[in-house]
């Protein structure tokens, strides 16, 4: 689960990680109040809040350039904020449809001496948290790792011991810090790791982390992702979820415990099991089609879930044909077939449907489909089903 920068910085601040002072506004009449909370006469940074990176270099759909602006007066800050709020920002991460800016974040500008990179994430190769730091802050860290790997510091943390003081010092020394900024960096690392661990984050990224001429160490940006499996123990984090940042079809699917991801093709699919669902997308592509979604209905889907899954699939206007691929194990094919028939009748589905059933009670399942009188295309193998559905989508 992702959150906005302003939410991440509030969490940082609560956890004792130093951030610049900032305020937010979600409508024009909140601008004045938001700005009054910041020091006047100093430079400010005005930031559009969306769940995507590359905001600074993004362009709004109305032609206005840049989602992050450094300004020298509150008048200028107001002008930038008005230009951004309510408009759609397109960045390299949003896709061409972009995202509407619903929140503006005002920050007091920071005197920067030097920029650094800092991240804590779960390293699946070692099954341990790892801290990644670099003197090359403000840059694309993947490019730094590619071109100058010697500038990337990595410290692996034993999950049962936590981050030890010598490890925090190792990183601060590695960043060539000294004096006050060394001490502050060690403190910040400890607090940031504690935050990462206690809140079940999957990744915390600070780019850039900065030092100021007076020796302060601050997180100038904050990107936080949470482990979705652990949200049950963090109701405070769940409250930060911004549904307007997510695909409405995905939000709807999550209400019924359906694992759905929207894609831009025209062949929809409904599958049991994540691996088989991915493989079904792949085979659609293999036969020249383009998948409209990923959908895993899980191992024990009931009739209600099947019906809701169909409803979500057909709500996508781009969908020209649907492939149902079920390998019934514990889930019985006759039960699934009944669910499909009932859902198709209830929703009065017009989109052509190819159904491939295999596994427990498969013959009974096929009989139910055949007896239904619905215009379903049965298929005996996944390859046959994929070929058929791609053809049907092309004809539609």
């Amino acid at each position: 689960m992702n959150i906005h920068e302003y939410q991440a910085k509030q969490l940082f601040s609560d956890a004792g990680v130093a951030v610049p002072k900032g305020t937010v506004a979600q409508s024009e009449h909140e601008f004045d109040q938001a700005l009054s909370g910041l020091q006047t006469g100093k430079a400010l940074v005005v930031k559009a809040q969306i769940h995507a990176g590359g905001r600074g270099k993004g362009t709004f759909k109305n032609g206005y350039r840049g989602g992050v602006h450094l300004v020298s007066s509150t008048d200028e800050a107001l002008e930038k904020a008005r230009a951004m709020l309510g408009n759609v920002l397109v960045t390299k991460q949003t896709g061409e449809e972009g995202k509407e800016v619903r929140t503006i974040y005002f920050n007091e500008a920071t005197d920067i001496e030097k920029e650094y990179y800092l991240a804590v994430l779960m390293d699946r190769a070692t099954s341990k948290p790892v801290i990644i730091a670099s003197t090359e802050g403000g840059m694309d860290i993947e490019e730094v790792a590619e071109s100058t790997p010697e500038k990337i510091l990595k410290v692996s943390v034993d999950p049962t011991l936590g981050l030890r003081p010598y490890q925090a010092r190792q990183i601060a020394f590695g960043l060539e810090l000294s004096g006050d900024s060394f001490k502050q960096c060690v403190k910040l690392l400890t607090k940031l790791y504690d935050f990462f661990w206690s809140k079940d984050c999957s990744q915390v990224e600070v780019n850039p982390l900065v030092t100021t001429p007076s020796g302060e160490v601050l997180a100038l940006d904050a990107k936080v992702n949470f482990d979705a499996n652990a949200l049950f123990r963090h109701p405070d984090v769940v409250e930060l979820r911004d549904l307007s940042e997510e695909d409405p079809k995905e939000v709807e699917a999550s209400k019924f415990d359906l694992n759905y991801i929207a894609l831009d093709g025209n062949v929809a699919c409904m599958v049991n099991g994540a691996g088989l669902a991915m493989a079904t997308m792949d085979i659609i592509k293999h036969y020249g089609g383009s998948p409209a979604n990923f959908l895993d209905v899980g191992g024990g889907a009931n009739e209600e879930q099947v019906e809701n899954a169909f409803r979500i699939l057909v709500s996508d206007d781009a969908v020209k044909a649907i492939l149902v691929n079920i390998f019934g194990g514990i889930m019985k094919c006759d039960v699934i077939a009944t669910g499909i028939v009932n859902a198709a009748r209830k929703l009065d589905m017009k989109v052509p449907l190819v159904v491939r059933l295999e596994g427990t009670n498969v013959e009974a399942g096929k009989q139910i489909l055949a007896d239904s009188g619905l215009a379903l295309e049965p298929a005996d193998s996944l390859a046959e089903a994929a070929e058929k559905v791609v053809q049907l989508a092309a004809q539609a």
Partner: protein, 291 residues
């Protein structure tokens, strides 16, 4: 012959009285699995299906019934703790079916596991089956047939697909190991391939992987250097968009790492027969295995 589980396995089921635990344990018993005990804290003294003793702790199941394999159907918030309990009771093989365990809990489990002699399979997996002898997990038993193909996979239904293709072609499986779809798991593709390579009755190996991480590449490197048995593979997720988790917590391409292309390339480089589609997994094996 087989790897890890067989007719001599003495299984204890953690979470045996829950809905998933009791349903799947019944299925496993009907298949012939030797279930010797169940564990549900607070329900010690009961009998499951009038025959299997239920204990409060795993240690009691070991002491009183000689359990040597544990299967877990414990809900995610408590599953990490249940695995730790099984490790503490020195159970040699622990199979965690549970999906949705927090990664932090698994990081702690993995650290304890590395310091122990126990092996973990899963979590978030269908389990393990040696056809005709022992089924532990949620896979449909009847699609399997005793035979000579060892199968290791991160996905449940995709494994059934491969198993069914082998069975329909008149062959069978030595053991099928579902290692699970989570980013932190107990047994890797590499571990399973090593086991199959050493098993005299496994003649051929099928490896089913998916996007995310580098476990398939590590197995490929091992196969290239050490394995003479015929191997086939399939990788799911060629069409998955980068940066999105595809159902499984571990199935994600991030920062350009863990792509299907890189995995397929590593497998081909190791001389492994890679199936183009999930419908052609058995066919890919028969290209290199003269069964």
């Amino acid at each position: 012959m087989s790897v890890l589980v067989d007719k001599d396995t003495r299984l204890v089921v953690q979470g045996i009285t829950g809905s998933a635990g009791s349903f799947h344990t019944t299925q496993c018993m009907e298949y012939g699995t030797n279930v010797v005990a169940g564990v549900t804290p607070g329900k010690g003294g009961q009998k499951f299906r009038d025959s299997v003793p239920v204990f409060d702790t795993v240690q009691e199941a070991v002491d009183k019934e000689g359990a040597n394999v544990a299967a877990l159907y414990v809900p995610p918030p408590f599953a990490g703790d249940s695995i730790l309990e099984a490790i503490d009771a020195e159970i040699p093989l622990i199979i965690a079916i549970t999906e949705g365990i927090p990664v932090r809990d698994m990081a702690e489990v993995k650290a304890c596991l590395d310091a122990s002699d126990s092996r973990l399979i899963g979590p978030n997996c269908p389990g393990i089956i040696t056809p005709g002898e022992c089924k532990i997990g949620i896979m449909p038993g009847y699609i399997h047939k005793p035979g000579k193909v060892g199968i290791v996979s991160r996905s449940g239904t995709l494994t059934y697909e491969a198993v069914w293709q082998i069975t329909c072609a008149g062959h069978g499986q030595s053991t099928c190991i579902g290692i699970g779809g989570d980013p932190i798991n107990g047994t890797s593709h590499l571990d399973a391939v090593q086991l199959f390579n050493e098993d005299p009755d496994t003649e051929a190996i099928i490896l089913i992987g998916e996007i995310g991480g580098s476990a398939e590449e590590e197995a490929a490197a091992f196969i290239k250097e050490n394995v003479d048995k015929p191997c086939a593979a399939f990788i799911a997720g060629r069409t998955a968009p980068p940066g999105r988790r595809m159902g499984h917590a571990g199935a994600i391409v991030s920062g350009g790492k863990g792509t299907a292309e890189a995995k397929v390339e590593a497998l081909l480089d190791a001389g492994i027969s890679v199936a183009e589609t999930p419908s052609h997994i058995a066919e890919a094996l028969f290209k290199v295995w003269d069964a």
